[in-house]
Subunit: 455 residues, 2 copies
């Protein structure tokens, strides 16, 4: 069932391409699922891939192209004419995929391709989809769907469905609309298939009005949570005034989920933009350097804070030993606390309101963690014979830092969310640096007190 | 379409429950989608929730229960008798959901419920599902499916499908099996619906043999990637010898995806186990303390490393100012590098082999970052008039640390993956601590050299 591309098979294929042994190539490739052909094309050079593509049925070739990584696809399409892209690719895929591919083409080439499309309706659909803002339901929906009018009879509906279904890859749901195209409900396929309705029954009498839909301008993340909540394979998309205009399928939603998860994960790891390990060096650097620069500025700030206490370090250089411990623990606790909140916000498990309750709970967790960590480090220091002022300074500062970092880590993402900034920002170097600064101030101030110096 | 539970509505509902105004309760609740009823139950006390549930149709009640958070559901089921759980809940939901609910019950209660089920076949199905290991395809699949034999005629198949479909909620795909139940292909519903096949045609002649399946023992993560790759709504599950035994639907896969993403995200944030912001204080502490203790031990190790250089700190206490900078930058770079690898491994965008190529690329990115950061901090130090040995020590150490942390951050998850340990482990406090230690050793050793001390 699942296909594994071996090195020897790849080499044989490359030889076949070089020698132009078309039937040998087809004997390997035509057996495969388009998704697997995509995997093969990924490993070939753009020229080799184009050679193989030109041998394939247009439908298969188009689907295989959709499976490619964005940058591989871009390179491959560069070498195809607008005519080829229109006829071999765009005309054979669904509108949402077509809009995606078009958005990757240079602007003038995209316009050329659009003009070359034979089906004017398809061209309109693609143009419409390209017009929606990124991250909205409109931008991820497709236009292909099967719909019937509520005032039709079952007989007429079946005729119309048969006609419409020719243009739709997979039919999961049939929508029922009124004469103004407003979404009224769905027509349960199961019923149509398995129960013998009279062909003269009106659709409105068997229509299931219990249908969940989203609006074109809705956030893609809301689409994900709606689909998850209601467990539907396809979500109809309606305009502001309720007219049915498209549908979003589960695979689009899976893509959005994956992107969201990656974005949050990368944000937490201090990487901006959506990069993956196959991207180019410069792109990877651009995604990472900004966060490092924030860290660098933070480090300079921290250095300035410590410099205020140079005198103290002169008196007891041992104070320097625990600087990384205090800083790291503040950072760790802060990241933990903010991560839990960021995730809760993403999952909507954090009910509206209740910031105070949330802070109190975080405070309890922090108190437990702070007591355990503070006590352990005290035992350690006393055991190895550290001086009393140092030992107590470390423990008291650690205790304070853990509590502060937890509260700060909880509050920051909640506040960012309130002011409509992505709360995941809070989990990056940002919160770590602030915790470092606060933690070290506490550390040295406590130190001054315990060492009997004026602060 | 989408329902928002207001505070006043909730209070009215709670009043209605207290006063026993059943028809008022039903007038609110019976209009809602089961997923929304679940949202309402979540906000009621277990007693109130049970009161509302007993008023609902069993099918609706059962579906609403499935929408609850695990711990809310557990509390709610505690107050129901085994008889009620069997009749009102388990008998009205699909086998995979039933197995999930059963796995949350205390063992003897689960056994009682199983014995009380009227449908022996359902009981067998649930027992089978409970037997699969967590994280396998078997553990997330359901048993409900519609299948026809390849040697049946279309007429017989339609009759049988009608019978089977009664027990299945949603029919997306009809499977074709041979007489030994081995999966042969799928029966395209669209064709059956919309084209007029002769009722005497044999199923094998219209069966589409291009079907992707997974094995019961396959990893749930492989199921996710198979479904994503082939864009199918339902994946059939077969036994080792190819017999069709269940199916996995897109909503199960969405759950797995979400859990995976959460696990990775939490691992990167230093939280173990799957917790969410609504969990109890002790559970949250248990998930977080271990990571903090690792951080604590790391901090103590770092303190010991720095103590080796106490002499140097005595000579120039200013060296202490940049300790957090060196440590933090090592940590930041290490986390970035490992996060990219962890994600690449999870997405399978990292091709097999090629560790050397991967390291070379990471090295290039690191070199760029290290040059920029090292130069900037040098300019800063010289500008504010730091002494030359200190300025150069900081820059050289920072440069070295960034390179090392990048290589180490890349290598660790790749090696963990090779030895079958979850590579996400590498992104936690683990890698940060090791980078701290290495970074500070470099810092002080470079310092000794530049200050003209023997190292």
């Amino acid at each position: 069932m699942s296909f594994e591309l071996t090195k020897s098979l790849l080499e044989r294929l490359q030889d076949d391409v070089e020698e132009g042994r078309d039937s040998d190539i087809l004997s390997v490739v035509s057996e495969l699922h388009p998704a697997d052909i995509g995997g093969v094309l990924d490993r070939l050079s753009p020229d080799e891939a184009r050679y193989v593509l030109r041998l394939l049925e247009p439908e298969t070739a188009a689907e295989a192209i959709l499976e490619l990584d964005e940058d591989v696809r871009e390179k491959l399409l560069e070498g195809l004419t607008s005519q080829e892209i229109a006829e071999k690719v765009i005309e054979n895929i669904e509108s949402d995929d077509a809009a995606l591919v078009m958005s990757e083409l240079p602007e003038d080439k995209a316009k050329e391709v659009l003009d070359l499309l034979e089906d004017a309706e398809q061209a309109d659909d693609i143009e419409e989809l390209l017009g929606y803002e990124d991250g909205t339901a409109g931008a991820i929906m497709g236009k292909e769907l099967v719909k019937v009018r509520s005032d039709w009879t079952v007989a007429r509906a079946i005729l119309e469905m048969r006609r419409q279904a020719e243009e739709v890859d997979q039919v999961y749901t049939v929508y029922v609309v009124d004469k103004d195209e407003r979404l009224l409900g769905i027509l349960p396929l199961k019923q149509l298939l398995f129960s013998a309705e009279s062909t003269r029954t009106l659709i409105k009498h068997i229509c299931d009005e219990d249908v969940v839909s989203v609006k074109v301008d809705d956030d893609a993340e809301d689409v994900v949570s709606t689909m998850k909540k209601y467990d539907v394979v396809v979500l109809p998309v309606v305009t502001e005034d309720g007219r049915l205009t498209g549908r979003i399928t589960f695979d689009d939603v899976m893509d959005v989920m994956e992107e969201e998860a990656e974005k949050d994960y990368q944000m937490a790891s201090g990487i901006s933009g959506s990069v993956d390990s196959d991207d180019k060096v410069l792109r990877l650097t651009r995604a990472r350097l900004p966060w490092l620069l924030i860290g660098l500025v933070g480090g300079i700030l921290v250095a300035n804070v410590i410099s205020l206490y140079e005198e103290q370090l002169r008196i007891d250089p041992k104070l320097a030993f625990f600087i990384p411990l205090i800083a790291a623990m503040g950072g760790n606790v802060g990241v933990q606390s903010s991560a839990i909140i960021v995730q809760g916000l993403a999952n909507r498990t954090i009910a509206t309101g209740g910031i105070v309750a949330r802070l109190m709970k975080e405070l309890s967790v922090a108190l437990l963690n702070a007591l355990v960590c503070g006590a352990l480090i005290l035992v350690y220091n006393l055991t190895i014979g550290s001086a009393q002022p140092l030992s107590f300074t470390v423990s008291i500062a650690l205790f304070t830092v853990i509590i502060f970092a937890a509260l700060f880590g909880t509050l920051t993402p909640l506040l960012l969310d309130r002011v409509k900034v992505d709360p995941a920002l809070a989990t990056g170097p940002f919160i770590t640096t602030l915790n470092d600064i606060f933690g070290l101030i506490v550390y040295f101030v406590v130190g001054r007190l315990l060492y009997g110096m004026p602060w």
